[in-house]
Symmetry: C2
Subunit: 760 residues, 2 copies
């Protein structure tokens, strides 16, 4: 835990420079625009500890798998997001000294992330080794108005001297990934250019052959007038720059505007990449920094209009929730179905930047509630496009007949993960992908999604469950053996209740989907069923048989569902029995001890009760919550939010708030000591859900929006906005009353605290 | 499967040179003497595919662990046997051409391993690229009379030419390990020497700082007279040699004798290593090849006297069983309690050359039955010496109070393995180490072993079980959760019957051991119990409680023990349901599919029924055998022998013989396509047990030797020898009669076919 971030409702603020916190701040102050992202590395040279990170969406490298003991079925590669060429470099040399905060005395250091406008701002005064003082004021952004453009305003004022100086404006593609299995360099140089007013480097990923062109230009100003210095250009291995010599005059500010265009072959033909980049660069520079930043900020203003959450009476909570929304919105903008949301977004490269079930279970509800339906739809289409590879993946594991197993971790649809207990057994992810289709349709009403995309995916997943579930002659029931549930502190268990439940649910929903599509478009359904060789009679009859005879572990005496077979044979301890030095378990206990213990990493049975809460009464939820929650150590960032939502539903307000505190400032306060690797982007969606579905009690039932809101005791009031079927609805919850306002769109029937209401 | 080895009762024979079989032959024709070993690499240069291997017992390197996903508790290192400096090199250059079988036409190639005398013999005719033909006749051995000495007789005859030639006699320490995690070189050079008649290199292992000195000398002879050539010497990085120039005369044989001394700092002070090596070398050369080989062969003659098995009417079986005995005897001679038996012995470096539970479960009975009791005792003392590290290992996993968990894989007592489901969960190995103490005492009668060593180990292991077993409030019984049994095709299961059984047995045996030691030496036991802070009242009362209330899974209807909880929920298929293309499962099926299936890698419940067969009636064994054997795929080389023994006991003669065939020629016929990595040394002891305990029905009950022998239908007769408490007993089993002869030692009462008999 750290508490160095200053509380402020719209800004993230760091005051004073502490090199030991630098990697954390680099993560927290990251910028992105859905197309690219940039950790908060310094523009000027920094020889101290840092983790450079520039990321271009959709560009990855298949890193050769590293494994201790190979198991048959493991993938050959782990597709990883790449640290891409850096476009931010502005190196300042004054006399013989380079401006390098690691070698200067630094005062008045302040870093601010303006979340309202999406701008990173940094000011400081540096005293060089020879006593010269410079003041710097740097702003930058990755344009939300044009995802391929970034811009920097970097102002330097010599405080106590006049001297000649050089300013180097670079593109540096000689970068490495922190997360590389064999310390390989992932980029090859394709071309470079350096002339006065331009530096450009095009590189290519090894193996995948993506091209990325990074081009920069710049202008210098002083007292409102352009400054022209003497320009030298350099071209080195994967590197190009312009070195501008100028004279600095005491007290006179020099302002450097640096513009960058970052284009990839995902969006342009390789041949035209450099030319297109240069055109885009010129257009940006012609517009100038102020116009660019205005266009950028106005996109942010529109974003906030739909999704802001306002908390009155708790600045820390206010800052926390906005930070979560801000990071999500700059990670994924939803205009490209080839993209998805890595666990660290654009704030780091850990976990390979790949797609997990987090997307469906956590991020989808966020984008549904805050963005145009097209955004959420693209997340679904992403998986639809990967269906052939999910089928291929299942085949590799011995499944047949078009059964699909979506990967645990993926970039392009192929499985990347290589831990047998996860890769092969944490198959509940397949259920999350099916559920996401239901969740999307429930929220948007877009049932036709089933016709074009949904049904095919659902059948393939149902086919997987149908084969993965086997009949126990002993029990005379169906069982699911050898799985790992969401609680990864259990491996290779039998009859994980959550997985079995979502599997049976999928079988049922697939049948409903088939009925709907058949009514809607008979010829389309026939074509599909014949394409996938669907034997309706035998396949569906098996599904129904499984639904009827599936085994679910239960403890009737306690009135709870059993997380898995044998759970009650464990020593049933609680968090209260753990000593401080045992936590976190995953760093302190050996793996077998964790597995044998009753302690739960993240919601498992409760994850099911959360997803399907309309199928269980409150007493059932309460009994299971009372049993499982005290054993839950929440060592996954995805855990607390589910508990906020369930606790809210069953009236455990104090517990809900306690859990909320764990999620909302997870990164800002570096709760798990790992923010230096990047922010927990996907779990941020859980924080949003905690407020909307937890405190706000938002649900969609039969196409109608329901709210059952309450106010945490610690707050004066809060309000949130929801984008629902073309409307923006603002809900304000105060001590004495709840107000719902239709901010835009057609009138709407809602249910507030179980009573019908009409919003006009 | 391959069938290129010619059948012969005492020789292993390869005729004709097939480069594709070379690595397999290098393994099969390996030599060793308990102190060092040498794969059957060629003396002369060979540029074709080969796997060079020279091994020095007790010298290892801690190779940094390689792992995909780190789990807390994993060891940092995997201690590995090293490929040591090669002493065999005799490079021949004739004119401009080097003798290199990869570049010559090779005819009349024959490789013979004389198992009776322990000598490798190779003859061939090579036609060099320029048409010159040479005949070579090479013999070598690693002396059983002096474990630090090796010698070669290499005779060269120019068939169709006279020419000048050079003969290089080298020591080459510039060697690499095939099995290295990070392609590191494990040796540093310490010193070297090269002068006429001597080449010597001393190297040091990185990190562990073992020193090994390899020194060679030689002499050349022709027509019975010494030949002196012109000598040049070379010293290169980790390399030294003598290059002798001589004239070859058509039809005249030149005989090269090369002598080597290989000494390690395990047995000599580092300072004196080179001098001692030189002295030993001189003494060897002074004796000469013939005397050395005679001394060596006479040790082998004595070995065979005690342990030979003779099979009449089946040369393939005869060759197979002798090969197994031969390999075991040259791997471990039992004079040094610091040494043990790696899975590949001195025939390869796979599995790190480290110690597994194979030693206790398989090898110990072999050495008990064939060697002086001191040999078996040293295997036990090896573990006694590692007790502090086994306690340390358990502590790392969260156990307290002096509980010991012996490692799965080790060189010096520290755990090396890094797969959580094995390292942390395959804990039945601890039971094997306790059982070995019982087994040793049962066979030798040396109960005093408990006083000096045994009890302390037993208590530490019992303390482990006592903590690892927990009480299930649900069952009101004790359970053991999260284990992997001998059948490694199940991971992280609950209540593995075998593990629970051997654990409870340990608790009981430890109490008996304590009683014995207390009677024998009260002061010693008091000292021990106070040293280890044994709280007799509470600890033993818990042990007794566990023994009384331990849960064992059973299917009463079938009358079988359950391998683990939930086993009957599986689809109960048999080997007959597997297609040929499914085998071996571990190469064809993904890991999860193997885990979910009922198929069994190696005896598990049956392993328990084998070890404790006097505690179960034949009907119980039969029912369990009938249930489990048909699901057993025997994909571990340790599996078939257990089935031979049990099948023999319950009268399944055909099944016993079928299983015997799988084990006896496993390496000779390259059954698993992996002999190129080395021979399956530890499972060879299982083959011996198959004959002695299986066909021969040998048991020791209450200090008395029992035999219940039968003759497999396929054989005319067989005989075996047993070393038992100072006697050598020969048992001959023919169609009509069984003969038992006391070949040496005092008269002895035995039980033959359940009848008392006296051997005189």
């Amino acid at each position: 835990m750290k508490h160095y971030i200053k509380h402020h409702s719209w800004h993230i603020i760091e005051e004073g420079f502490d090199p030991n916190l630098n990697r954390i701040s680099e993560s927290l102050f990251s910028l992105g625009n859905g197309r690219m992202g940039q950790r908060a590395n310094f523009e000027e040279t920094y020889s101290g500890d840092q983790h450079q990170g520039t990321y271009v969406a959709g560009v990855y490298y298949p890193d050769k798998t590293r494994v201790g003991w190979w198991k048959n079925g493991y993938p050959e590669y782990f597709a990883k997001v790449l640290n891409a060429p850096s476009w931010i470099g502005i190196q300042i040399k004054i006399g013989k000294n380079e401006l390098d905060l690691n070698k200067c005395k630094v005062t008045d250091f302040k870093r601010t992330l303006d979340m309202k406008r999406g701008v990173l701002h940094r000011t400081f005064t540096a005293t060089l080794p020879d006593g010269k003082q410079v003041q710097v004021d740097a702003q930058r952004f990755c344009s939300m108005a044009d995802g391929e453009v970034g811009a920097i305003r970097y102002a330097v004022t010599p405080v106590n001297f006049s001297a000649s100086a050089t300013i180097t404006l670079s593109v540096d593609a000689d970068v490495v990934n922190k997360d590389s299995n064999y310390d390989e360099n992932f980029w090859n140089e394709v071309a470079k250019e350096a002339k006065s007013g331009l530096a450009l480097v095009t590189v290519e990923t090894k193996k995948t052959f993506f091209h990325v062109t990074t081009a920069i230009t710049y202008s210098l100003h002083s007292a409102g007038k352009a400054v022209k210095g003497k320009v030298k250009v350099n071209k080195l291995e994967k590197y190009a720059d312009n070195v501008v010599s100028i004279g600095l005059k005491k007290g006179i500010e020099i302002v450097i505007y640096k513009y960058a265009a970052i284009l990839s072959s995902e969006n342009h033909s390789k041949k035209k990449l450099a030319d297109t980049a240069k055109k885009k660069l010129k257009a940006s520079a012609d517009k100038g920094f102020d116009k660019l930043i205005d266009a950028h900020a106005s996109v942010w203003a529109n974003v906030w209009k739909k999704c802001d959450i306002n908390i009155d009476g708790d600045v820390a909570a206010q800052q926390g929730i906005r930070f979560n929304i801000f990071q999500l919105m700059q990670t994924y903008t939803g205009d490209d179905a080839r993209l998805n949301i890595g666990p660290k977004g654009f704030t780091g490269e850990k976990y390979g930047g790949s797609t997990y079930w987090d997307t469906e279970a956590y991020c989808l509800p966020f984008y549904l509630g805050t963005s145009d339906p097209a955004v959420a739809k693209n997340l679904l289409v992403y998986r639809y496009k990967h269906l052939p590879r999910a089928i291929e993946n299942a085949k590799k594991l011995g499944f047949t007949n078009g059964a699909a197993l979506y990967p645990m971790v993926t970039m392009n649809g192929e499985e990347c993960h290589n831990e047998w207990e996860i890769t092969f057994e944490e198959i509940h992810r397949n259920g999350a992908i099916a559920f996401a289709i239901f969740d999307y349709i429930r929220y948007t009403g877009d049932e036709d999604y089933l016709v074009d995309f949904g049904l095919e995916v659902l059948i393939a997943i149902s086919r997987f469950w149908s084969q993965r579930i086997t009949f126990s002659a002993e029990k005379q029931q169906y069982v699911m053996l050898g799985v790992t549930g969401p609680n990864e502190y259990e491996n290779n268990v039998n009859n994980n209740w959550y997985t079995s439940y979502i599997a049976c649910w999928t079988l049922g929903y697939t049948q409903k989907a088939l009925e709907y599509v058949r009514k809607k478009d008979t010829s389309k359904v026939s074509k599909l069923l014949s394409k996938i060789k669907f034997n309706e009679a035998t396949e569906i009859s098996r599904w129904k048989d499984i639904q009827a005879k599936m085994y679910f572990g239960e403890d009737k005496q306690r009135g709870i569902y059993l997380q898995q077979d044998g759970f009650l044979d464990k020593e049933l301890l609680g968090m209260k029995d753990l000593r401080k030095e045992d936590r976190p378990l995953n760093q302190k206990w050996s793996w077998d001890r964790i597995l044998r213990s009753c302690f739960i990493k993240q919601a498992d049975v409760l994850q099911g009760l959360y997803l399907f809460d309309d199928q269980f009464d409150n007493d059932t939820i309460k009994r299971n919550f009372d049993f499982y929650e005290p054993m839950t150590v929440h060592e996954s960032s995805l855990s607390p939010c589910v508990h906020v939502i369930l606790a809210s539903k069953i009236g455990y307000k104090a517990k809900a708030y306690e859990m909320y505190l764990r999620t909302s400032r997870l990164d800002l306060d570096d709760y798990n000591n790992d923010t230096e690797d990047g922010c927990h982007i996907t779990s941020m969606a859980g924080t949003w859900m905690s407020v909307i579905k937890g405190f706000g009690g938002m649900r969609v039932k039969d196409g109608t929006l329901h709210f059952n809101p309450y106010l945490p005791d610690q707050w004066k009031s809060y309000s949130f906005r929801i984008d629902f079927r073309g409307r923006v609805i603002k809900v304000t919850v105060a001590k004495s009353n709840v107000e719902t306002i239709l901010e835009s769109g057609d009138p709407l029937e809602i249910v507030l605290n179980d009573k019908q209401a009409k919003l006009t």
